[in-house]
Amino acid sequence: MSKFRMHLLVCGGTGCRASESNLIVESLRRELEEKGLGNEVQVIMTGCFGFCEKGPVVKVMPDNTFYVQVKPEDAALIVAEHVIKGRPVQRLLYVDPRSKEHISDSKHMGFYRKQLRIALRNCGFINPENIDEYIARDGYAALGKCLSELSPSEVIDTIKKSGLRGRGGAGFPTGLKWDIASKNQAGQKYVVCNADEGDPGAFMDRSVLEGDPHSVLEAMAICGYSIGATKGLIYIRAEYPLAIQRLKVAIAQAREYGLLGNSIFGTGFSFDIDLRYGAGAFVCGEETALIHSMEGMRGEPTNKPPFPAESGFMGKPTNVNNVETYASIPVIINKGWEWFSSIGTEKSKGTKVFALAGKINNVGLIEVPMGTTLREIIFEIGGGIKNGKKFKAVQTGGPSGGCLTEKHLDIPIDFDNLVAAGSMMGSGGMIVMDEDDCMVSIAKYFLEFTVEESCGKCAPCRIGNKRIHELLEHITKGNGTMADLDRLKNMSYVIKDTALCGLGQTSPNPVLSTMTNFWDEYIAHVTEKRCPAGSCRDLMKYSIDVDKCVGCTACARGCPVNAISGERKGPHFIDQDKCINCGACFEKCKFGAVLIN
C-alpha cells in the first residue's frame, strides 16, 4: 500500500508515560510488524489528550475510536481485533459514568463535546518531535505571513485587536505589552517565555510544551519580529524533563530548517531561542523574579516600575509572556483577529485552558471558550463530583485565587467575573472540593504552600503569611478564638496591601474567600470546637454507642494507645484523655457502634 490506512495515536504526555505509554507504543509496533502490518498502520506518539483521568489513552484514526486505561499487554488485542478485524475492543472503551454506555467515538464523549481547542489544537493530534507534522497544520505559516506581509506595528495591531490577554494569571493585554516593548529603543531586546508553571494542580503549560512545542517557538519569533528582538529565552523548570527534551528537539529541527537562526525565509530577520532552567521556585513565575533568576541572581522580585518592557533581562527591554499566551498567537495571525475576538466574552476573548483536579470525575486538561460557566466545566465536561458526593467549592487561580461555591456556578468565567466573584483566573488550575473537605484546612493547605514558596524578601509575605498559617493551625486544632478570626482577617488585608510582588499580594486570598463563603465553618471550629466536614482530626471525638456495641473487643484490640476498655460481650468505652483520634476503632467496628462527632 502506498499510504498508511490507519494511525494509532498514543498519548506521550508525562501522565500517560508514567503509566508506561512508551511501552504501549513499542508493543503496538511489535505486534504490527509480526502481523505484517508495519507499512499499513502507523503508530504515533503524540502530546497530551487531556483526558488524564483515564490514561494511558490510545486513539485510532480515522474512525476516532478512543481507548482508555490501555496497558502494554493490550496491544496484541487491539491489533488482532481492531486493526485486523475492525471490531473495537469493548473492554477498553470509555464508559459514560451516567448512562453506563460504552462510547467508542471521542466526539460523543461529554468531556470533549463542549471544548474548543486553540492553544491545545495540536496536542494529541501531531507528533511533537516531528516539525513536518506541525508544518502540515499551518505551522510557521503565521511567521511567514508576518515577515512577508505585515509590518511589526501591524502584527502588534492584530494582537491588540484580537483582545488576547495574558494567560499566566493577571490577564494583561498582550498586544499592549508588545507595543510598550517595541517602543523602548535599545541595541538588544529579549523575548522571554515564562514556563515556570508552579500552581499546585496546573499543568497546561507543560502539556503545550510537550504536545506542541513549535507553536511556542513560532510565536516567540513573531513577537521578536514585532518588538525588534533577535533573542528568545524560555525559562522552564528543570522538573519538566520531558517538556525540556521536546523543546530541545523542536529548537534543533527549527534551526535545521532555518526557521530559527539568521535571515529567516531569506527576509533578513534573525531570531534564535535558548533555554534557561529554573529550580522550581514558585516566586520565579513572577516576571521580575524570573528575570533575576535567568541573570544568575537570586529568584527575588523587584518593584515595578521599571517594568521588564523598559528594563528587563540584562537591563534591556524584555517581553515576558506565558506559554499558553504564545501558543494562541499563530492561530490569531492565521485566522485573523476578527475570528479570535468573536470567541469569548466582552472583555476576555478566545479560550482558556483549565486543569481539572481534585474530587472530580474527569481529572484532566480542557480548553473552553471564555464565558463558559463553572457548572458546564465541572458537571458536563468534568463529569461531576467523584463517588456521587455533593459539590462544595472550587478553587480557581491556585494559591493566589479563591474558592467559589454553588452560588457562583452559573457565572460566565472570564478574567473580570472571577475577580468580581472574589477569586481569579490565575493560570487556570481548578481544584474541586466535595462535602468532605474542610474549608479551614483548605485555606491552611494553600498558606502552607505560600509560606514554603515565599522568597523572604519582604516582611509582609515572609512574616505575615507565617503568622496567618499559625493562626489557621491553631483554629484547626481547636484552640482558636473569635479574636483570632479578626486578627486573621486584618492581617490578610495588610499583607495584600503591602507585599512586594504578586505572590504576597494574593497569598491571603484563599483565607479571605473561604472566610467570606464559609464563615460558619470558621465559627464552628472556634466556638463549638467542631469541624463540620469531619476532616480536622484534632476536633474529632470518638465514642461508643453502648446499645450497638456487642462487646466483640475488636476496637479495644485495634486501639494503639489502649484507650478502650470493657468486658468481653459487654459494652466498651473510650477514655477521652487517652484517645489520640486516630480512628482505628471506627475502622475496626463491624457494627457501626463507634460514633464520630
Partner: protein, 130 residues
C-alpha cells in the same frame, strides 16, 4: 534537512506533510466526506476483504476523492462477503455484497463519483438503535 529559503519552500513541505496527516484530519472531521466501511470479520477476510480494503484506500486517494475508509466487524451478510458499506455525505448508507476489484472500481466510479447505484446492493431490512 535543507534550510527553507522562502515561503515557497515552506509551502512545499506543508503540502508533502499534509498528505501524511490527511488521514487524521479527515477522521477528525468525517462530516462531508464519503465513508467506506469494509466488513473485516473472519468471513470477510476469508473471502478477500483485505485486498478490497487496500484497493479502496489506494484508489480513492489516487482518484482524489475525500473519503474515510474504515473497517467494521461482521455485518451478518456472511453469504455475500466481501461486503462494503458506503455512505455518501448526507445520505443513508448503502451496503454492497460480493465486492471484488471490478465491483469496487464500479462503486468508486459510478456510485461515489456520480451517485449512480451499482449492482450488488443488499437491501437493509433491519433497524438500528442509536
Amino acid at each position: 534537512m535543507e534550510k527553507l529559503k522562502s515561503l515557497a519552500d515552506l509551502k512545499k513541505i506543508r503540502e508533502d506533510a499534509r498528505v501524511k496527516l490527511d488521514l487524521r484530519v479527515k477522521g477528525d472531521n468525517p462530516e462531508g466526506l464519503v465513508q467506506v466501511k469494509v466488513a473485516m470479520a473472519t468471513c470477510g477476510i476469508a473471502s478477500g476483504a483485505k485486498p478490497i480494503m487496500d484497493f479502496f484506500v489506494d484508489e480513492l486517494d489516487k482518484r482524489g476523492i475525500g473519503a474515510v475508509v474504515t473497517q467494521t466487524g461482521c455485518m451478518g451478510y456472511c453469504y455475500a462477503e466481501p461486503t462494503v458499506e458506503v455512505q455518501l455525505p448526507g445520505q443513508e448508507p448503502v451496503v454492497y455484497g460480493f465486492v471484488d476489484r471490478k465491483r469496487a472500481d464500479e462503486i468508486i466510479e459510478k456510485y461515489i463519483k456520480n451517485g449512480e447505484l451499482v449492482e450488488g446492493i443488499i437491501p437493509v431490512n433491519y433497524e438500528k438503535i442509536d
